[in-house]
Symmetry: D2
Subunit: 295 residues, 4 copies
């Protein structure tokens, strides 16, 4: 018995969580195996520090993903690891005032050394200085992250691999992150202007010209919505799966069912949709394993 | 790459959801492979109608489980299926007044025919009449469910298999279920007295005499707490995993972290505990697959 | 501006959480002011230790509630407080092994002294011995709790006040609690048999004979479902509000929307239903304040 | 009995939800009454369409708020209402394909006419054209929203009132919204460049120069984090309350406890922090009512 068998049995249950899991595997298999699909993934929450760095880098390297939309935090963590830092295993019950004194910052049970944040600032400023000033005066986030990826020769880095494979990483909320602070401090003394309109034009072009668009949504937030809204110009995406712990009945976009997006013209129809209720850092590797298993 | 490899990699991440999933697989593997363990499972939420009937029946048949604690609803659904009824695939957006008129009852996106409920009542009364009156006057729920299991010759039935394997099914909330209504209507005209103290004595004996006690908690509710409280007489259980979507910060027992139970003397220590945040009907088959894979 | 004005404005918003809150206030006002209603409340989660002891005792004392269905844990806490013990303010980050050594048990950020649990056992055994043996040999939980209430002369005690006002407290899961352990230990040496069928007959009678039945559901679990299922013999309840943090899409009964119960014949129709998403220990006092304010 | 009395009683409970609610009222009272405080509010989720438009506009008008950070969606909805459109009351069970055909878009149980979205595009382009081109070539989001507010003479509009009171509205994710699409389409044919660095400089200046900084966080997302990260240059904010339904144990920023931010230097200490578990569209008006009641 393998996980792909389990997934098929689950879809046969037809109801509740198992049906949604089984359907998500089937959709993901279609997205990965049908060359008509241009596939996008959105990353929100602790995706990179939560252990999915290798999983996503591998998918980019194998050209199973065509574009990424992410929070600034996930880019920040990829860069920190590319600079040689590792997170520490902590606990959610540690005293945050004491951690502060000891130079440690906390994300649930994960710790980051303040030293890593400081190294990131230096490295960011150094890498920015190597970008030609003319480019720096009007740069998209995906262009900026390609520049960083080129300068971070870590084979396991998502930024590096995406640059090597010419896969754009869009970061519409880049300003709201540790990396964003570094961009802002640099901009106070040096020419730097990030132009998110260029990002959006690129994303609209990519989705508009794709034969089919598939989206994998890990967590909610701004990344979730971004490929969907850009796809409204093409009449919506063709396939979408989301993995989320956010609830629908608060009315926020993060927990909203994918079906809602049909009424906004961002998704084409009900057939190729599945919401998996769960933790993306656990469920996405399992869905991927099942979707890539030979049947 | 197999799911047991993924689970080991997840445990190596050391933080967040992956660490908890990986650790849960390791604990479950120990519970299933170490003969010192007497293993209990608690079932709350739509475990049987959600497709786990075969999974749990197989574990009982292979003697990997030694006792079950369940809500009345899961027993009700096992019996309905043993009587030949199947659930229907519906949707969570159906109109419940119309369903009522059409003789259908809903659990999220799953439908049950009213006819199945009526057949259950007849079958329950018939099976009760076949139990000797002396036994009926003071019967534990596990004894009652063995009697039913004997009379329901469906190899896929949890009740039937548990009876065949002499595994007790405890149902402390049996009164609060469709089956419970049938017991009550029967008791209005016939001698029937269910004695939950007999159940508890049996459960305390089983846990007290076990070399080690392991618990798998699917969902919360009364079943979650029951093996833990019975184990307080032996100083707590040795290993426990729970799969839940309930949150801890409301303070309810269903979402409570397992660690709390240490302070009540119901769990021995921190080493063999893992909470998996997710939907039990999806996660338990995956955890089981990983835990039983040959390494 | 008073909270009842806010509630009316919220209902006028017509959508999302505010509409549900405003509607719940209106339903509760109707239940409290229309003499046709027999009102039941179900208590699950840390309702008594979470500060609602006075709120519910006052409603019982003013005869605004006609019946209560509760977990064993809430009865346990009411008795502990009636014996003069108080909970301590702790924190959710305390070390549970150390708490155990110090004789403290934890519920999220609340601590209970082990001494209180020991005193409860002695008091329970003493109070049981004062109940005539003939009565003890076949007693409903509501009769048992009236006996305890009579012997616990604390005006703020829910058990005491309910006994004084002849309001039954049903406790279908009494066995699964610290109090339940004490009943079981007593039963090992003394005659004691609790008969839940008697409870259910009383509850069915009460709901069957009521002109209208209203239900307030705090938290989920077994108590949530109990008044609803008992009301199926009268064609369902007339009005219901629930306050819950449990989510609907896992399929469990605790998080299920009230609408589902219509398809089971446990609620009459869509008009008088409202689900408030939130923490019952916070929302119920606020809803009650708004519902009882003179308009 | 008034809600401020209830809040004080809740804080006296000392544990669980009531303690957090009571403490949040006390912190909010301090923020609103102590002139040393510069107060910021972050808006994520359906805050404006969920009925809080008047509440927040009133607080801005009374100068109890000094700055706002919001998602693009909330600005979009404020503008739609300022143009005379109203949302419709729908249901979460409507068929989204049919809604699409009928020109309606859905947010849980709320409907927006497609016509409103089209009017917004025309109005946005018209208002943009009235902004001097030199300004348009390098404009912060708070400057842009002041320009719109000036041109939208609706006394109940948050944009209009904020402009009239010179309160900046920061919108770091403006691109990811219907309004953002309109900005992008305009920019394809006309000079327009939005410079988020200018926003961040303004926000850092405001927080750096404040004697004390207080933050009210409604929902999570990018707005939640923004005032906190900008305040890291002053050593963190002095007081913060958050209202959220997102859970902490997934590790995402939206559900993270405020305590984590201490370890990042974004909050000063443990004293003036409170997380209220609940729906912001319900809880914020209630907290505000309690905090502004005369004691």
């Amino acid at each position: 018995m393998r996980i792909s068998n389990i997934a098929r049995q689950m879809e046969a249950v037809g109801v509740l969580g198992p049906a949604r899991f089984g359907k998500a595997v089937r959709i993901l298999r279609e997205m990965f195996s049908n060359d008509d699909y241009s596939n996008f993934i959105s990353l929100a929450g602790p995706i990179i520090p939560g252990g999915l760095r290798n999983v996503i880098t591998d998918l980019v390297d194998e050209k199973l993903l065509d574009g990424i939309v992410t929070t600034g935090a996930n880019v920040t963590h990829d860069m920190i690891e590319a600079l040689g830092h590792r997170h520490l295993v902590g606990s959610e019950t540690l005293d945050d005032s004491k951690l502060r004194q000891r130079g440690l910052s906390r994300i649930y049970d994960l710790l980051v050394r303040q030293k890593a944040i400081e190294d990131l600032e230096k490295a960011t400023h150094r890498m920015l200085s190597r970008i030609p000033e003319s480019k720096r005066r009007n740069i998209a986030t995906y262009e900026l992250l390609w520049e960083f990826g080129k300068q971070l020769p870590d084979r396991q880095s998502l930024l590096h691999t995406a640059q090597r494979r010419s896969i754009p990483i869009f970061c519409p909320g880049i300003f709201d992150s540790m990396l964003g602070l570094n961009l802002w401090t640099y901009s106070q003394l040096n020419p730097l202007l990030i132009n998110p309109f260029k990002d959006f034009s690129k994303l609209v072009d990519m989705t508009y010209n794709a034969r089919k668009v598939g989206v994998v949504i890990l967590g909610g937030g701004m990344p979730k919505h971004h490929v969907l809204i850009a796809s409204s110009y093409r009449g919506g995406v063709d396939a979408a799966i989301q993995i989320t712990l956010d609830r629908p009945d608060g009315g926020g976009a993060s927990g909203a069912p994918l079906e809602e997006a049909i009424s906004w013209g961002k998704i084409k129809g009900h057939q190729m949709l599945a919401t998996v209720l769960g933790d993306a850092t656990v469920m996405f590797p399992l869905l991927t394993l099942a979707a890539l298993e030979r049947e």
